[in-house]
């Protein structure tokens, strides 16, 4: 399983993702520069967190036009695994690879705090080793993570079971009090219909070792390591 981590100017979770892949898991890692089109044979492309191009104009609005994004779109089209975290999720929405948009947090302030996520899809490559309804403790860090979609899009997402993660309390109950940013239906992460493109606001790469507060993020990375082999041999 070869992970590619895309670096836009202004990206900052690239190094944290790289640390987990390379140092915690010992998996294969490539950094992919935004100006390059070559995905270097990666099996999973991560669009990490940060403020690509300063998020000037609108989050992810400039990054989506990067040369690398053309390759990412083709890769996704072919069924390649694409994982957008935080700013990466915003870029995927801007690029039209995922439906909906991420708007300003309802508190109108940046939020960095621990959240609990309940996992509703365990049949994706990203969540294969997660139990259904398992609660994961993973932090958020964003100013624009408030998931928004028009009613038809939202009901389509729900009907097709595309919501992978919802903000929940520590017991897994999806309650308004557990929603940190005003996201519709407490949505924290979604996949496309085919299930090969995941976007999520929380940062699993910051929850990969117990000493920094949680290792629950590893469930996602491990799922990819497991399923990656299947993708390659399929």
């Amino acid at each position: 399983m070869r992970f590619g981590v895309v670096v836009f100017p202004g990206t900052w979770s690239d190094r944290d993702c790289g640390w987990v892949i390379d140092q915690v898991l010992g998996a294969e890692l490539r950094y992919l520069w935004h100006k390059d089109r070559d995905l270097q044979g990666c099996d999973c492309v991560i669009l990490p967190g940060g403020f690509s191009h300063g998020d000037y104009l609108r989050t992810g609005a400039i990054a989506r036009f990067s040369p690398v994004m053309e390759s990412v779109a083709e890769f996704a089209e072919r069924g390649g695994l694409v994982w957008g975290i935080c700013n990466g999720f915003q870029i995927l929405c801007e690029a039209g690879l995922l439906p909906g948009a991420l708007i300003r947090n309802d508190a109108l302030q940046f939020r960095c705090e621990w959240t609990h996520l309940v996992c509703e899809r365990t049949d994706t490559a990203f969540t294969a080793v997660v139990e259904r309804r398992q609660v994961l403790r993973i932090p958020i860090s964003h100013g624009e993570g408030n998931y928004f979609a028009d009613p038809p899009t939202l009901s389509r997402l729900e009907q097709h079971g595309q919501v992978v993660f919802r903000y929940a309390d520590e017991h897994g109950f999806v309650v308004p009090a557990a929603n940190p940013n005003g996201s519709m239906h407490n949505i924290a992460g979604i996949v496309n219909e085919r299930g090969n493109v995941l976007g999520m606001m929380p940062h699993p790469e910051r929850a990969a070792e117990l000493e920094i507060g949680s290792a629950d993020g590893l469930f996602l990375f491990r799922s990819l390591l497991d399923s990656g082999v299947k993708v390659l041999t399929a």
Binding site: P9, F51, C112, G143, A208, I212
Partner: protein, 726 residues
């Protein structure tokens, strides 16, 4: 002869002008006058404080770089050096809170980057007037810090904030940055080697921030509206690109030096880098990339446009450096070269626009030694008698204290800051100190920033010592040993004898405490003229940034109680130390009395005890006893751990007041908790180290109870604590 208006514009006195003319043996032209004006400002020249600052100890074990560089550096083992510095951005934040604070963060980051280090953490010390009147300052500054730090991707991991009347017109915004670098890659900003090239990199130069340094050296007065253009606008995205490009440069042997462009822009940046090497420089302003047309040499030389760096490159290697910046879509223009003539020569094309001796620029400001005298009412402040009042209800007082802005939960602030980025944060904000692991090792850096302006107002010598002692206790409370200090001295107008006296006393206090603890002061900043016509001077507010080391982070502790049944102990002894306390302020509405007594030997003893106990794995929690006293500290341990305490009646002996035992702010104390099996060893350790040790009670339930004295529901208390700043 120059006219008075022009001298006011460059903030030079008539005497300073005379000294300049006599040193030059001629009249300076306008550009030269402007350049000297900014470099001779207090902000750049430290002409008033320099003699005092020499009293601070700057050498010590492990110091790799002391004061005089962009930031200080200390060896932390396994080939790593920690680089850190604190700096003020008070005046800009008073005028434009968001941008003032944001560019303060941007500036301190560049100081650390210039040393070749990757910034790993930011800290802030903030002071505002009371809420809600000062809410615009408070909200704007916090948003500005968040806006810059979050975007550039450096976690903001610790800080402090207090609200007092004296800061209403003149808030304080001190930002500290901590970075890491391999010791052998530590850079120094010395522009060496005649013929080497000077490259200006990063943002283009505009007309923003001209005379910012001079502005910072004046009182805040009615000109505030006029001064607004002197505040710069930050671009954290650009600085992120600049940061990454500079990290690439650090590995290149052809890069001789990296120097930040901060206050006084190109003028001070070139002059300082050249002065350190004893060389000279010639630059051509026509080669400076600009974002505005028709800028004069004066404007180019004095612009404080943000996100710029000066790079000194060995001749012939310019293109290598330019390629790195091209990757990040940044400008990198060769604007001049290093010379050996001891002059800073500024040309515009073929024409010489200014030529000044470097030494005159950086060392020529006539030192100022203002009169020093305590103010007449100092004696009254100290002796004011408040001790006859009957103590009010202790439970209610606790709720009022924890629900007050100075002691309430800081979560509404730090949840706006990314404090987890880098996946290194082991102890997050909200505790005594932040603790960050050095990835790839078992080592961790502890960091804190502390000050107590109120104590210093009542007694600057004692107050400054307490600031150092408290910072050291905060590091100890996470299990780390203090290494070194950076300081930021925020004072009023030093031309007033009582202010200069405060400055002298405070510096002496820092020096005394640092010497006693063996802590070098490796970097720092002075911010004077923090006063306004309507608001008067701020409290003398020396701020201490401190960094410590924990060699094995599995031995870390934090403040929250952990287990039902654990013993709760107070280390150290309580006295009648209600002077200057939060209790006195919140419950009695008074700022008076003597600040708590300070005993530096006792401080060391309790810290050694806590460190030894933490190393031996005997502690489940440790927390410094500071503002709000013992009961506040115990309550904080409860709130952080989500567990109550049950204690028997607290017995007071001798002339100790009951309310002072609970809320007095006696120094050299910790609240720790431990399991029953650790108790015999802890008692033996306390006996061996001659440390006072008092069993308060046990961790229990969901109330804070001292039998017959205090009974508070934890949920109710949490509600007040959570809402204090919202």
């Amino acid at each position: 002869m120059v006219d008075a208006r022009k001298l006011k514009e460059v903030a030079l006195s008539r005497d300073e002008y005379k000294a300049l003319v006599s040193a030059l043996s001629r009249e300076p032209n306008d550009l030269e006058l402007g350049m000297v004006g900014v470099l001779w400002s207090e902000h750049c020249s430290y002409k008033t404080s320099k003699a005092l600052l020499r009293r601070l100890p700057s050498q010590g074990h492990g110091v790799l770089q002391g004061p005089g560089e962009n930031a200080g550096a200390v060896d932390v083992g396994e080939g790593w050096a920690v680089v850190f510095k604190v700096e003020s951005h008070n005046h800009p934040s008073a005028i434009e809170p968001y941008q003032g604070a944001a560019t303060g963060v941007g500036g301190i980051l560049r100081d650390v980057i210039a040393m070749g280090a990757r910034p790993v953490a930011l800290l802030d010390s903030l002071r505002f007037g009371p809420l809600p009147a000062s809410a615009h300052h408070f909200a704007g500054v916090v948003a500005g810090i968040a806006g810059y730090g979050n975007c550039i991707g450096v976690p903001t991991v610790a800080g402090e904030v207090y609200f007092e009347d004296c800061y209403a017109q003149n808030p304080l915004v001190n930002a500290m940055c901590v970075g890491l670098v391999r010791s052998d890659r530590l850079k120094r900003a010395r522009a060496e080697g005649a013929g080497n090239s000077l490259l200006l990199v990063g943002a283009q130069t505009g007309r923003d921030g001209i005379h910012g340094a001079s502005f910072a050296s004046l009182d805040l007065d009615q000109d505030v509206e006029e001064r607004r253009p002197a505040v710069q606008v930050g671009n954290p995205f650009l600085e992120k690109c600049l940061l990454e490009a500079c990290m690439d440069l650090v590995r290149m042997p052809s890069v001789v030096a990296i120097q930040d462009l901060g206050a006084a822009g190109l003028t001070s940046s070139v002059a300082e880098a050249v002065a350190r090497a004893g060389s000279g420089a010639e630059i051509d302003v026509a080669k400076v990339p600009r974002r505005e047309t028709a800028m004069s040499p004066y404007e180019v030389m004095l612009s404080e446009s943000q996100e710029r760096m000066l790079i000194v490159v060995a001749r012939g290697h310019e293109a290598d450096v330019q390629r790195v910046f091209e990757t990040w879509d940044l400008e990198a223009a060769v604007i001049g070269e290093v010379t050996d003539d001891g002059l800073l020569t500024v040309r515009e094309g073929d024409e010489v626009a200014a030529s000044l001796p470097i030494e005159l620029l950086t060392e020529g400001a006539p030192p100022r030694r203002p009169e020093s005298k305590p103010r007449p009412e100092q004696a009254t402040i100290l002796s004011l008698d408040f001790m006859r009042r009957e103590p009010p209800d202790l439970s209610r007082s606790l709720k009022r204290l924890l629900g007050s802005p100075n002691l309430g939960s800081r979560r509404p602030i730090f949840r706006q800051y990314d404090h987890m980025l880098g996946a290194a944060t082991l102890v997050p904000p909200g505790g005594d100190a932040a603790l960050l692991r050095i990835k790839g090792t078992r080592r961790a850096l502890a960091m804190t920033i502390d000050g107590n302006g109120r104590y210093c107002e009542l007694d600057p010598y004692v107050g400054a010592q307490i600031a150092v002692a408290e910072a050291a206790r905060n590091l100890t409370a996470v299990g780390a040993r203090p290494l070194a200090v950076t300081d930021c001295l925020n004072f009023g107008n030093p031309d007033r004898p009582e202010v200069f006296w405060q400055l002298e006393e405070a510096v002496a206090g820092i020096a005394t405490a640092c010497r006693a603890f063996g802590l070098p002061v490796v970097s720092g900043n002075v911010s004077l003229y923090n006063e306004s016509e309507s608001g008067g001077a701020v409290y003398p507010t020396p701020i201490i940034g401190m960094v410590g080391l924990l060699e094995d982070y599995t031995k870390r502790v934090d403040a929250g109680f952990k287990e039902e049944g654990d013993f709760v102990l107070m280390i150290g002894a309580s006295g009648n130390d209600l002077g200057g306390s939060e209790y006195l302020k919140v419950v009695f509405g008074q700022v008076a009395g003597r600040p708590p007594a300070i005993d530096l030997a006792a401080e060391k003893a309790v810290r050694e005890f806590v460190l030894a106990a933490a190393q031996a794995g005997l502690l489940h929690s440790a927390h410094d006893c500071a503002e709000g006293g013992m009961l506040t500290a115990v309550a904080e341990c409860c709130l952080l751990g989500g567990l109550g305490v049950r204690c028997p009646e607290l017995r007071v002996e001798g002339d100790l007041r009951l309310d002072s035992a609970f809320f007095g702010e006696s120094q050299a104390r910790f609240i720790v908790s431990a399991g029953s099996r650790a108790m015999p060893e802890l008692q033996a350790l306390a006996r061996r180290q001659h440390v006072e040790f008092e069993l308060l009670g046990n961790v229990h339930g969901d109330r804070i109870v001292f039998e017959g004295q205090v009974d508070v529901d934890l949920a109710e208390l949490r509600d007040a604590w959570d809402r204090a700043l919202i």
